[in-house]
């Protein structure tokens, strides 16, 4: 009996040792040390809708990248933390990332977190790349050396105004424009609203300006004001919720004007594909070509979303996040291994990437960590989603120079 027990134990020990060797061997040959990125995002909370979608797009890109072997054998390890668009949480996340030895901080949240994140990352000497919204710290002519932005909104006072008002001017074809300009009572949203007003007045447009608190439940009286003021165009600056509310309020009051549906906080598909399906007076604004248009290049993204169980539907925000991942891959590739802050910042200071046909190009220089922005405009016509005009992509430089319109993102070249 005793011999059997000893023999069995010895057999078990040998089996375990063989297993451990095989595991460690496979680890050694399969992966090198990973690039580490700390990713703080508004995955839940009031700002969650759009940011969660683009974060998922980023995640499935990284999963796809790692499945291909990473970057020269180095996988990319991303540590995701939810900040609920709260500054204190985001700062705590950055501290955690620093303790885990990340090489870069990525942010996909609302402007409420930026001051804290940038301050903490600067203290830790870590480069920051922001998605969705561009902080002022990345803007020319003297950006924070560590802060870069792929944020689709661009600089609040500049990019959105040039793109949106430029497209309205194109659509108006010389007819008088009375612009209903509604913004959320948030710092960057107000700046966007001021930008819209300034740009609109440049073209002789009349403006009815309203700032509404995010807590406001019913925008019917605001819609009434706009309609009484004979507004024929409507723009909105701010997170997604009020964008839906004002559109509904205007429609139920029988308004026949044009709503430039800017969806910084949510998806083109939810608004134009579901809620306002078939509404030909509403024009949806996108930052990447929406999957509703079924470009062949959407297929690998859709496949990855399915393979890696994306928790959100396939939509233009998820595509946006995918292409954010492409930017990060390119940066890490150029930086090589090991990638410390100096190398990463050096790469990012002289960085450019073409992302057509689905996404616009990105270019950063030492004096401009934001670069150009492009928005596409689509509407319903004859039961289909189509470009609102032939040249339906409108661009803006960081300094407010108009770059559009163009017919496709292939024409949106890096200058």
């Amino acid at each position: 009996m005793r011999k059997i027990v000893v023999f069995t134990l010895a057999l078990l020990v040998v089996a375990l040792a063989l297993f451990a060797c095989s595991t460690s061997t496979s680890t050694t040959t399969a992966t090198k040390e990973p690039y580490k990125i700390g990713f703080t995002a508004a995955m839940t909370g009031p700002g969650a809708a759009g940011q969660l979608e683009s974060t998922e797009g980023f995640r499935i890109f990284i999963e796809t990248l790692n499945a291909r072997g990473g970057i020269n054998g180095h996988p990319v390890q991303v540590i995701y933390e939810d900040d609920r668009a709260e500054g204190a949480r985001a700062v705590a996340n950055v501290k955690k990332f620093e303790s885990l030895g990340v090489q870069m901080i990525a942010v996909d949240s609302l402007s409420s977190v930026y001051a804290g994140v940038i301050g903490e990352a600067s203290r830790a000497n870590l480069p920051v790349i922001t998605f969705s919204i561009s902080p002022a710290e990345a803007a020319p002519p003297n950006p924070n050396p560590l802060v870069f932005s792929v944020g689709h909104t661009g600089i609040s006072e500049t990019h959105p105004a040039v793109m949106l008002i430029g497209m309205i001017k194109t659509l108006a074809k010389g007819q008088p424009v009375v612009l209903a300009n509604m913004v959320a009572d948030l710092p960057l949203a107000r700046k966007a609203g001021e930008g819209y007003t300034r740009e609109a007045k440049k073209y002789g447009m009349e403006v009815i300006y309203e700032v509404v608190p995010m807590s406001m439940l019913d925008l019917t009286p605001v819609a009434t004001k706009f309609i009484n003021g004979k507004a024929n165009y409507l723009v909105y600056g701010g997170p997604g919720g009020p964008a839906y509310l004002i559109g509904d309020a205007m429609l139920k009051l029988g308004w026949k004007g044009t709503y430039m549906v800017g969806l910084a906080g949510s998806s083109f598909e939810q608004a134009m594909g579901e809620k306002w399906k078939g509404v030909e007076t509403f024009i949806g604004q996108v930052q990447t070509e929406p999957p509703m248009l079924n470009f062949p290049e959407h297929k690998p993204i859709a496949d990855a979303a399915q393979k890696y169980s994306a928790s959100v539907p396939m939509n233009h925000k998820l595509v946006d996040g995918w292409f954010n991942g492409l930017v990060v891959e390119s940066i890490l590739k150029k930086a090589g291994w090991p990638a410390d802050t100096a190398k990463l910042v050096n790469v990012m200071n002289n960085f450019s990437i073409e992302r057509a046909p689905l996404a616009p190009p990105v270019k950063w220089t030492p004096n401009d960590h934001v670069g150009d922005r492009w928005n596409g405009f689509y509407t319903w016509r004859g039961g289909k989603v189509v470009p609102v005009v032939d040249k339906h992509w409108y661009g803006s430089s960081s300094t407010g120079e108009s770059l559009g319109p163009v017919k496709s993102l292939k024409d949106a070249k890096i200058k």
Partner: protein, 291 residues
């Protein structure tokens, strides 16, 4: 100007519907239900759920939601509030605060923060109706006004002519005497809670179809609390002028001053009335002194 008036009447109607729930419960049990807004939100989500499951039959979804509301009201009273008998009123009010937090959290977990529109789910569109004098009102705005009138009228008739309604008035007058006269006051409380939750559900269906449905709309309940305070916590008829006053001032400030200021108007009014005339326009002075 005329459209301004329409907006006031629509807002007053939803405030009146919500105010009914506050008054009925206060009259019956002296409880101020601070979860009333969340019950409105829940009512909307119940319809959302039922309409998603029972395709093509919004009427069934509405009826189902009303039935569930009646049962929910009974459940809330029997399980959560009845055990509070003998406890200070403030403890009971704290329980309602707990219910409100719980409901909001559950709604967020279950349906997420996305702003929805019940009109999309039910398929009954919120279309504009063009009336004379340049007035435009939407389908659900008109429904809100009609339902507020019908509900309030029906309730007043119920309290005046129907046995259970008369018993509710007796309990509101003097609960001890009513029970000694053979009235089952617990049954009265169950009916009161059911009526309150039904009124909240109706408000939730209409608001969720006309404006929005998401976990945040419970805040409307807090704003609506100003209406029974202004009108008198124990006065159903006081709801009418109070709702019009609150809505008029809110829409006025929104239109001519600033949307940010308009948000706090109901709460400022609430404070002013409590300081100057706490029994409200048509409430009973003795009631407030006793509280």
């Amino acid at each position: 100007m005329v459209q301004f008036g329409v907006n006031v009447i629509v807002l007053a109607s939803i405030y009146a519907l919500l105010g009914i729930g506050f008054v009925i419960l206060y009259r019956a049990s002296r409880v101020i239900n601070l979860a009333h807004g969340e019950f409105m939100m829940l009512g909307g989500y119940i319809v959302f759920f039922l309409a998603s499951v029972i395709h093509g039959s919004p009427a069934l979804a509405f009826i189902g939601a009303i039935i569930i509301s009646v049962l929910l009201g009974a459940f809330i009273y029997l399980v959560l509030l009845r055990p509070m008998i003998g406890q200070p009123i403030v403890s009971t009010i704290m329980v309602t605060i707990g219910i409100s937090i719980l409901l909001r959290g559950l709604a967020t977990l279950t349906w997420g923060p996305t702003i929805r529109s019940l009109s999309v789910t039910t398929g009954i569109r919120n279309s504009p109706i063009f009336l004379p004098m340049g007035i435009t009102v939407s389908t659900y705005e008109l429904a809100t006004v009609i339902m507020a009138v019908l509900f309030l009228s029906g309730l007043l008739l119920f309290l005046k002519y129907i046995r259970q309604g008369i018993q509710m008035r007796a309990v509101a007058e003097n609960a001890l005497l009513a029970s000694q006269r053979g009235i089952n006051i617990f049954a009265v409380f169950v009916i009161a809670w059911s009526i309150a939750i039904v009124s909240a559900t109706v408000a939730g269906i209409l608001y969720g179809s006309n404006v929005r449905l998401d976990p945040e709309i419970g805040f409307l309940g807090l704003k609506a609390l100003a209406v029974p305070i202004v009108g008198g916590m124990d006065s159903l008829t006081g709801l009418i002028p109070a709702a019009l006053i609150v809505a008029l001032l809110e829409v006025f400030f929104l239109t001519y001053v600033s949307p940010q200021v308009s948000e706090s108007i109901p709460l400022i009014l609430l404070l002013i009335v409590l300081l100057i005339r706490p029994w409200g326009l048509m409430g009973t002075k003795e009631e407030i002194e006793r509280v």
